[in-house]
């Protein structure tokens, strides 16, 4: 074995090494220091001695047992040595053909200020031609994560030209990270970019030097010409309904005087125009441009193909305004001379469906609502009955008549009858709202519930238990409503509950209070219109000033496209591609701030003579393998010596002491070896699932990470006909009720017996309430309690056993919320019916369908955790109530 070339041994001193060496030195010293054995012997005759007193030493130096001490000292030295992180440099010969080079082209707007796209493409192709004979070249740009391996210079040019300049910003660091994740073993990374600080920001290229050699290609500097660009466009909220005005903020970078024109157009129609003057030191000016509203709407309608005098919002691009700045003397960056903003015309018509309660206005509780709607300018129209020929209203407010008036069936429409979700219209961009509100606080909420069921085109079985406002609120949250207004988490304070849009884009807002001033509740006549304005804004029926202000900002202005790319779901960006192409230039690109050269990677010398050799240098790698091998050998040697020493000590000296220590060590190692995690795992007991490959590794990990519970990732299946097999389980998940039924359609005797003994049954894909009641009827044969399935109320323990849920997940392809039902038996939740298969959603490889987004899976996991806690602890906050049940399980 050749001696190690210590000259090639790099050592890096660190605080750890310093600490280790200090501790080691102190330990070695302590080993020598022996506290004097304080052997004191009483000797009474000492009393008669008259001698000078002596200070008795407490510590003394004594030689330690040499073998253990030397072993310790050597190991300490070794530890210090390894704390210095010794490595050895290994070299391998270069191989130009195996070198891998990647070229990253920056296509952000700032680059366009210094060169044209053609120049960039040519330059890239030229570099490629130089590198191709020497190495394997790959290519990508900052606009997307596509990496190509070009075969010719033409291919390189086409790749650049096809993409064109990107209007979104991009961080080179993120792009490089993406490349390194895809392309392994890169030798050199060449970045073709200007020195724009917004692109280079946050890129710590020095950290990559161990992995790849990062260099940039020399690029011409930015010219000193001024740059004028639109920084912000803001719609002006105004009382004048005949014009539409915008405030445009223009910024100028540079000191030269600039004048020019500005125009705003929808499609080809130039509707707004003006001039601007940025003189001297003034670098900012705000212009207000106005255009006739009729002309604007006409232009928008022509572009969007809308009808009935309303802006067609089917395509949001029809409501896009293109603002163009035209400096007379030209400016350095042309891309940011165009700016896009939303037109933000959303004024809608509103239909109020409410029977008149009297001839006089004071007799009619809807009067205040109508007045408020008129004041707010949403053009309310009142009908006594739902219109059979809808006028395309974006908002319908349905106020069912008070009890004793007309029947519900004739009054309440279905969602499709509202006309809002008329067939043939695209559902992508259009969202219409239906408000359902009681007429009075003491209204018949059961009637309201039936109206709700009819609107949702589903059975009204769950309305039987709705008699007052409290039960109405509970029902709304249990069928998937999201609380609107009130205190967070306090369901009873909710003003209304909003439901997710159905496939037709219709949304429902069910109120828990009447839409009228109620001074006793703090809703005065003065505050009522304000509340209504907020609700209209929430429903999109009214453009508030704040919304108008934000509408321009709603147009994408992407600082870093890689944030979107990294967050993309299934390769789809959160911003449509078309919109991305028209994104506004980020401020950082327009400002054109240059990064310091010393902060950027070095410039690649492609033309240099030794570039070929430098391209693929001698491979250099640091390794500590040999040192680690040596360490292991040495430790084994030391252990051998120690063992010999211990054996000698054992055989010749204190056998009992050594034996005791050895036994302790053996006991310790044995206990450590046998120390397993508590085996209290919860099995996922299933029946009726045909997915043998159903696994729940992720779910088990999540549950274990969030709670103190351990769930087996492999579900177990039970035979429902076997009483003994089922009796061992605490809970059971069943896919559909078919496997539970006997010939009469009721639960099998074994299952009934199991539930009576404390079993917790979860039936998935079950939403037929009558079928559920038939299923569990035998449970209540001898019971005084009714066999009553109720929707899970919002204050149920399942909504708060671990996570505080505001509603239960609704996963169905129809997007029509359905309630979760629960059956109380023996004072506890004994059977739970879920309208869909939660097991499928939370399994490791869920099939495609509803509830596949991360947010939905998270909701389902949280719900699962709540269910498992309910099944194991029931209502642990009031567990004294369930103590008999717990005892029953324990027995």
């Amino acid at each position: 074995m050749n001696p190690l070339p210590l000259g090639l041994l790099p050592l890096s001193w660190s605080w750890i090494a310093a600490a280790v060496s200090s501790v080691g030195a102190v330990s070695c010293l302590i080993w020598w220091l022996v506290r004097k054995r304080d052997v004191r012997v009483k000797l009474p005759t000492v009393r008669i001695l008259e001698m000078e007193r002596q200070v008795l030493p407490r510590l003394q130096l004594a030689p330690p047992p040499w073998v253990p001490f030397l072993c310790f000292a050597l190991l300490t030295v070794l530890l210090v040595f390894f704390a210095l992180r010794p490595t050895e440099r290994l070299y391998s010969e270069s191989d130009p053909q195996r070198a891998k080079v990647h070229i990253l082209v920056d296509l952000t707007a700032s680059v366009s200020a210094v060169s044209s796209l053609e120049e960039v493409a040519l330059q890239t192709a030229s570099i490629y031609e130089k590198l191709a004979p020497l190495s394997t070249v790959t290519l990508s740009h900052t606009a997307s994560s596509v990496v190509i391996k070009p075969s010719s210079a033409e291919m390189v040019q086409n790749f650049i030209k096809t993409e064109g300049w990107q209007r979104s910003g991009a961080r080179i660091g993120d792009a490089v990270g993406d490349i390194l994740a895809k392309e392994h073993g890169l030798d050199r990374l060449l970045i073709l970019s200007d020195r724009d600080s917004s692109s280079w920001g946050g890129f710590s290229w020095q950290a990559l030097q161990q992995e790849v050699r990062v260099e940039r290609l020399e690029w011409p500097e930015k010219t000193s010409a001024a740059n004028v660009f639109i920084n912000r466009v803001e719609r002006v909220a105004q009382m004048d309904t005949k014009t539409i005005a915008f405030d445009i903020e223009l910024l100028r970078i540079g000191v030269s005087k600039q004048v020019g024109k500005i125009s705003g157009s929808i499609g080809d129609k130039k509707l707004w125009s003006g001039t601007w003057n940025l003189e001297g030191e003034r670098g900012r000016v705000v212009l207000r441009l106005m255009a006739a509203k009729a002309a604007v709407e006409s232009a928008a309608n022509e572009l969007g193909g809308g009808s009935d005098g309303k802006v067609n919002v089917e395509s949001r691009f029809s409501s896009m305004i293109r603002w163009v700045v035209e400096p007379e003397g030209g400016d350095s960056l042309a891309l940011d001379n165009s700016f896009y903003s939303e037109l933000a015309l959303h004024r809608q018509k509103t239909l109020v469906v409410a029977e008149a309660e009297g001839e006089r206005m004071m007799d009619d509780s809807v009067g205040s609502l109508m007045v408020a709607l008129e004041v707010l300018g949403v053009n309310p129209t009142r009908h006594d009955r739902p219109s059979t020929s809808p006028k395309g209203e974006a908002l319908r407010i349905i106020l069912p008549p008070l009890a004793g008036k007309s029947g519900d069936k004739t009054f309440c429409p279905t969602m499709h009858d509202t006309g809002a979700g008329k067939e043939g219209q695209s559902s992508a961009a259009k969202t219409t709202w239906t408000w359902l509100a009681p007429r009075a606080l003491d209204d018949d909420f059961g009637r309201l519930c039936r109206c709700l069921a009819q609107l949702r085109r589903e059975g009204d079985g769950y309305c039987n238990s709705v008699t007052h406002r409290g039960s109405w609120v509970g029902l709304l949250s249990s069928i998937g409503g999201k609380q609107v207004g009130g205190s967070l988490g306090v369901a009873q304070d909710a003003l209304a509950y909003a439901f997710s849009p159905n496939v037709a884009g219709e949304r429902l807002l069910a109120f828990t209070v009447p839409l009228m001033p109620i001074p006793s509740m703090g809703l005065t006549h003065a505050r009522f219109p304000l509340l209504l304005r907020d609700l209209l804004g929430f429903s999109g029926a009214l453009v508030t000033q704040e919304m108008s202000r934000n509408s321009a900002d709603a147009w994408p202005r992407i600082i870093n496209i890689w944030d979107l790319i990294n967050d993309a779901v299934d390769g789809r960006l959160s911003v449509p591609t078309e919109k991305l192409a028209l994104a506004n230039i980020p401020l950082g690109e327009s400002l054109g701030t240059l990064a310091e050269t010393k902060e950027l990677p070095p410039i690649a010398e492609i033309g240099a003579a030794n570039f070929s050799q430098a391209l693929s240098p001698r491979q250099e790698r640091e390794t500590a393998d040999r040192w680690i091998t040596g360490l292991i050998c040495f430790v084994l040697l030391v252990l051998g010596f120690e063992s010999l020493h211990a054996w000698r000590f054992f055989t010749k000296q204190r056998q009992r002491e050594v034996l005791g220590n050895a036994l302790f060590l053996i006991a310790f190692l044995a206990s450590a070896g046998m120390n397993q995690a508590a085996a209290a795992k919860t099995d996922l007991v299933q029946s009726g699932y045909n997915g043998a490959a159903m696994t729940f590794v992720t779910l088990a990990k999540e549950t274990q990470g969030r709670t103190s519970l351990s769930v087996n990732s492999q579900p177990i299946s039970v035979n429902l006909s076997s009483t003994g097999e089922l009796a061992k389980q605490g809970w059971l998940w069943v896919n559909g009720a078919e496997s539970l039924k006997d010939s009469s359609g009721a639960l099998k005797g074994e299952v009934l017996q199991w539930i009576r003994r404390g079993g917790f049954l979860v039936i998935e894909r079950m939403q037929n309430r009558e079928a559920l009641e038939r299923l569990t009827a035998p449970l209540f044969l001898k019971s005084k309690n009714p066999n009553h399935w109720d929707p899970i109320p919002p204050d149920h323990e399942m909504m708060r056993s671990f996570y505080l849920l505001d509603s239960l997940p609704q996963c169905s392809d129809s997007n029509m919320p359905t309630p979760w039902y629960g059956l109380e038996f023996d004072g506890r939740l004994a059977v739970l019916a879920i309208p869909y298969s939660l097991m499928e959603v939370v399994q490791d490889r869920p099939p495609s369908g509803a509830c596949r987004g991360n947010a939905e899976i998270e909701r389902n996991v949280r719900t699962f955790i709540n269910i498992i806690l309910v099944s194991l602890t029931m209502d642990y906050k009031k567990d004294q109530i369930h103590l008999p049940e717990i005892l029953k399980r324990l027995r």
């Binding site: 054995r37 304080d38 052997v39 004191r40 012997v41 009483k42 000797l43 009474p44 005759t45 000492v46 009393r47 008669i48 001695l49 008259e50 001698m51 007193r53 002596q54 008795l56």
Partner: protein, 304 residues
């Protein structure tokens, strides 16, 4: 036989021993009353001052020598035996290494044997015997030896357990008894703790003896270790390294000097002084007692 094996022997001969000296009186001392007798045994030469009526004129006629024939009856006296049971007497204790301490009785144990032995001897002779146990310089326990059984019970109870020396058998707190003048006083102790009380007690009596009892570990230094320290806990607390004690035989010299001082003090008081250890032969001990007049009357009192 050594002192550590001393036993208050022949206690069952208590009454016969009493009767052996005189059919009428008993005691360990001769009565000062002299009586004329015709028996030849107690004859001696006339000394000036002897009563003339005690002269055996017939013998003078035969031998032309003035012989006095007189006899003195035995007399019962009060004997007080002090036993020093202070902390210095409770030694060797557990601070002494076990391999050295092994088999050695504590000083209080030997002292108790000696006290019981002396008490038994005087009891046999019909004396009034008190034993005073000094727990510390202020606390003392005094009891009167009333019978052989009483003494034996106390002896057996106290042997081996220093704190039980006469303690658990109902010590009479007869403080007044110790205050009165006793004819004979024995002080058995090491003289380390209550030396002033020793001298005071010995001063008050007509006859007395100081039996200084030390452990053989105190009189010899062969067991001292140079690395250990030897300490006396009593203030002023003293602690010396064994090395210092052994150097130049400092310890032995100091001890001899101290014992010499004690002897001189006893001599000045006219009292007997003897140094004993648990290794002292019983014969030597009895010889000492003879000097104070006890052994000659009671004979050997050691269980053979």
């Amino acid at each position: 036989m050594l002192l550590k094996d001393l036993y208050p022997d022949s206690l069952d001969e208590w009454r016969s021993q009493k009767a052996r000296f005189s059919p009428r009186t008993h005691g360990s001392f001769l009565s000062p009353i002299r009586q004329t007798t015709r028996m030849p045994a107690p004859s001696r030469k006339y000394v000036h001052g002897d009563p003339v009526r005690n002269i055996d004129w017939r013998a003078f006629a035969r031998t032309d020598q003035l012989l006095v024939r007189e006899q003195r009856e035995n007399s019962s006296v009060s004997v007080l035996i002090h036993v020093d049971a202070q902390e210095t007497m409770i030694w060797p204790d557990i601070s002494v290494p076990p391999n050295i301490r092994m088999g050695l009785p504590q000083k209080i144990d030997v002292a108790w044997r000696m006290a019981c032995h002396i008490a038994a001897g005087h009891g046999r002779m019909g004396d009034l015997v008190f034993i005073c146990i000094w727990r510390d310089q202020k606390k003392r326990e005094v009891f009167q030896v009333k019978s052989t059984r009483d003494l034996m019970e106390r002896f057996h109870h106290g042997i081996g357990e220093s704190e039980n020396v006469a303690g658990a058998l109902g010590v009479e707190e007869t403080g007044s008894k110790i205050e009165k003048e006793h004819t004979m006083v024995y002080w058995i102790g090491d003289g380390l703790s209550a030396i002033e009380q020793t001298w005071q007690s010995l001063e008050k009596c007509r006859y007395g003896a100081f039996l200084q009892l030390l452990s053989s570990l105190e009189t010899s230094v062969g067991w001292l270790s140079p690395t250990h320290s030897y300490v006396d806990q009593n203030p002023p607390r003293k602690e010396y390294l064994g090395e210092a004690l052994l150097q130049g035989e400092v310890y032995q010299n100091k001890l001899a000097k101290w014992q010499s001082k004690c002897r001189l003090r006893c001599q000045s008081l006219g009292r007997d002084f003897g140094v004993f250890t648990e290794q002292t032969p019983v014969e030597a001990y009895l010889r000492f007692l003879e000097n104070v007049g006890l052994a000659t009357r009671s004979g050997p009192m050691v269980r053979s």
